[in-house]
C-alpha cells in the first residue's frame, strides 16, 4: 500500500501538474499506456470540474487530490470546498452541464464512469464536492509481464 496527496491553487495551469503527479504515482504499478491515458483523462476532468464548477475559477481556492495504490487497485479522490452540487443524479446524466455558455460538453462524469470501475460523488451545497474513483488494473499489466 502506498499513498500520496497533492493540493494546489485552483488555476487551470495546474491541471497538467495534477495529471502528471497522479500518473507518475500510479506508474509504480506498471499500468498499460492505455490505462495510464484513461487515468490522466479522469484526473483532468475531475480537476477541471473542481476549478470551473466548484470554485468558479477563483484562484485563491485550493483543490485537493489524493491517491492510494494497493496491489493492482487504484483509488483517486478529488475534493473542493466550492459551491457543491444540488442534484447529483442530474449532474451525472450524459450531456448535462450547468455551464453551456462555456461550451462544456457535459460528458466529464460520463467519461469517468466509462474509464473507471467505480465513481462515487458526495457533495454539500455551499460546502464542496468530493469525488472518489476506483480502478483495478487489468491482470495482463499487473501480473504477466
Amino acid at each position: 500500500m502506498n499513498r500520496m496527496s497533492i493540493s494546489f491553487s485552483a488555476k487551470s495551469e495546474n491541471e497538467s501538474f495534477a495529471r502528471v503527479a497522479v500518473a507518475a504515482f500510479v506508474s509504480q504499478l506498471d499500468p498499460s499506456m492505455n490505462e495510464l491515458t484513461e487515468i490522466k483523462t479522469v484526473v483532468s476532468e475531475a480537476v477541471t470540474n473542481a476549478i470551473i464548477h466548484g470554485y468558479e475559477e477563483n484562484a485563491e481556492s485550493i483543490v485537493y487530490v489524493s491517491c492510494e495504490i494497493d496491489e493492482g487497485n487504484i483509488s483517486i479522490t478529488v475534493e473542493d470546498e466550492g459551491v457543491g452540487i444540488a442534484n447529483i443524479e442530474e449532474a451525472r446524466q450524459p450531456l448535462y452541464t450547468s455551464k453551456p455558455e462555456l461550451e462544456r460538453s457535459g460528458m466529464g462524469l460520463t467519461i469517468m464512469e466509462n474509464f473507471m470501475d467505480h465513481v462515487e460523488i458526495s457533495s454539500v451545497v455551499g460546502e464542496g464536492t468530493r469525488l472518489m474513483v476506483m480502478k483495478k488494473l487489468s491482470k495482463a499489466s499487473a501480473f504477466c509481464q
Binding site: A24, D30, P31, K40
Partner: protein, 77 residues
Amino acid sequence: IGEIQRFLRDDGAVKVSRSIKELSNQVRKTSEQLMKELGRVPTVKEIASFLELSPEEVVFAQDASRQLASIHETIYE
C-alpha cells in the same frame, strides 16, 4: 544551425519547452514499436526500460510536451 542546436542541447541551456519535445517523440515512437513487437499495448515500465528512464520520467515526458508546447508558442513564436 543544426550544429548550434546540438550545442545548445548538449549544453543544457536549451529550454525545457523545446527539449522535452524530443523526448516525448521518443516515447511515442517506442510505444508504437513495442506495440508491433508485443502485439498489445505496452506498459509504462516496458517503455521506461527501453528508453532507460524511470516510469515517472516517461509520464512527465509524454504529458509535459503538450503543456510546454503552448508555453513555447506564447513565448517564442
